[in-house]
Amino acid sequence: MTNERGRFGAYGGQYIPETLMNAVIELEAAYLQLKDDPAFNRELTALLNDYAGRPSRLYYAEKMTRELGGAKLYLKREDLNHTGAHKINNVLGQALLAKKMGKTRLIAETGAGQHGVATATAAALMGMECVVFMGEEDTIRQALNVYKMRLLGAEVRPVKTGTATLKDAVSEVMREWSSRIADTHYCLGSVMGPHPFPTIVRDFQAVISREIKAQILEREGRLPDAVLASVGGGSNAIGSFYHFIDDPGVRLIGCEAAGRGGDTFETAATMHTGKVGIFHGMKSYFCQDQYGQIAPVYSISAGLDYPGIGPEHAYLHDIGRAEYVPVTDEEAVNAFEYLSRTEGIIPAIESAHAVAHAMKMAPAMDKDQILVITISGRGDKDCAAIARYRGEDLHE
């Protein structure tokens, strides 16, 4: 999908300070050398299978299907992976790559804390040093994950600048990386940032759609009518879409966090409220004001609380191959509760955005149609926040 210099159509690129240019060039060279290397892939597959628990299950949500009375609903259970989310797929790949490059230290941003926990986990496993940058606001929203990262041996640095959320954590990791490059790999958590990150992260997450395709063909003998995934930066979504991009019969639907509503100022729905810009190393869509100042965004989900979206999504949006729909906090919380009580699966609030949209779509579809929803992570981390959203005085 990429052309020269990592562009997806007009999007992507390498809009970063000169100080970091040789680092991303070195990373691309190492990745190109290793990505088709049989030994590297054997090692990575062993880690994904034996350590992270892949392949993840494709579960037929029979009760939910019956209740909604339309399309058959399948859940891709990335929440069952070790560390409880899809993030580990990418992190194991990047940590292994970094190790082969001779790096001894991983730095990462995190929003909900899932990518931070995954990175701290891989660092512990591979004997690497790890520093995770997390917006101070998020360290409060996701205190349990902060504890987990420290337990795993990582240092967590709260970021107090700007809005003290995910975008500020990304900015701070970029600053940190430019001050210490030789021994440090930036383990970026989503399909964003400068080339080659959007491609590397996509390739490591593409295991999701590779498995979905094989699993659904085995179960149903046909491809699904649509694949739905939540989208912030967009890594679980691109992972879920990738192997279906060339199957035009499969609708690809990214569910954005609309916060209190796409027409309010408290939203993170980039495709719906943003415009094309250049930020965090890439050209893509961003929430911003008329002078290009990046807008503060809001979502109940710390993992989707980001003012941009990966460049490949921008491209898939423009060519009409993927659709992006806004889902509000209220809809996501309803879906979080619904899936918990209907199927006994507590999804991450991020994933609940995709469940919410499926709940809107499914009843209007035929019984022989199929929807696959990626449950990108488990919802334990969100229980306290959702309880508070519903007015219960619950603190971790």
Binding site: R5, G13, Q14, Y15, I16, P17, E18, T19, L20, M21, N22, A23, T161, G162, K167, D168, S171, M174, R175, S178, S179, R180, I181, K275, V276, G277, I278, F279, H280, G281, F286, Q288, Q290, Y291, G292, Q293, I294
Partner: protein
């Protein structure tokens, strides 16, 4: 020779950086005039950005103060029009790619020409991406300033060969901010630069005291100072023109002492 290159022709240059609108545009105007009266050879005007990824805490805070104060790109164009009534030295904008892109690159760059801005420094626009704005900069006669960093190594020659205006040599790894010591082997970087371009080369990042400015100017054609000036503005607020003027005088004297 461009106006920027001419500014280096009279000896070692001293280049102050000032964030526009910190704490307000009246103060910026007074500070720029004080800097120029006290010997600044070229002025870098920062257009604040919400998320300045190449800046350390001092300039980040200045960006935030300026944006909180309500400054916008259009108001900064107005400031430059006012300054140009009496300020004759070259002035360049330092900002981030999205500020130019979102304004409309042609609208932004043609306005630079109209208000007599001589160059553009965009720290998140490396060599590989300069085609984004270079054709328009050429069309309107605005120098797109290139940066070289301590990690540039095999890239220095290529960057230098195509550099315009002056070459901005980043002294250290990391972000902007004052440093007690600059450890990079800048002399050997400058040597490579000299082999590939005749345009001047100035060093920035980490310089705050006259001794450092003298040393850096000795290695190159000039010294760029941002955070140390921003600290004075943060300290003195609306009364910053006088202390900044005195500071620039000391720093300019230091670079003038270079043989």
């Amino acid at each position: 020779m461009s106006k920027i290159q001419a500014a280096f022709a009279k000896g070692k240059a001293f280049i102050p950086f000032i964030t526009c609108g910190d704490p307000d545009l009246e103060t910026t105007a007074a500070v720029v005039r004080a800097a120029v009266e006290n010997g600044a050879d070229l002025v870098e005007l920062g257009i604040p950005f919400s998320d300045p990824t190449a800046e350390g805490p001092v300039i980040q805070a200045a960006n935030l103060r300026a944006l909180t104060g309500g400054v916008t790109t259009d108001k900064i164009f107005g400031l430059v029009r006012d300054l140009r009534r009496d300020v004759k030295v070259p002035m360049v904008f330092m900002t981030y790619a999205n500020v130019v892109f979102s304004y409309g690159a042609e609208r932004f760059i043609s306005t630079c020409r109209e208000i007599d801005i001589d160059g553009l420094i965009l720290p998140d626009l490396p060599f590989e991406e300069k085609e984004e704005f270079l054709p328009l900069c050429r069309q309107y006669g605005v120098d797109l300033i290139s940066l070289v960093a301590p990690t540039s190594e095999n890239r220095i020659a290529r960057i230098a060969e195509e550099a315009e205006g002056f070459l901005y040599l980043v002294s250290s790894l990391g972000v902007t901010g004052t440093r007690s010591e600059i450890k990079t082997d800048l002399a050997s970087i400058v040597e490579v630069v000299r082999q590939h371009t005749a345009i001047p080369c100035a060093i920035g990042f980490g310089i705050s005291i006259p001794e450092q400015a003298k040393k850096m100017a000795g290695l190159s054609d000039g010294a760029i100072v941002g955070s140390a000036i921003i600290k004075l503005i943060a300290q003195y607020g609306r009364d910053a023109a006088e202390p900044v003027g005195a500071y620039v005088r000391r720093m300019k004297q230091a670079v003038s002492l270079v043989e």
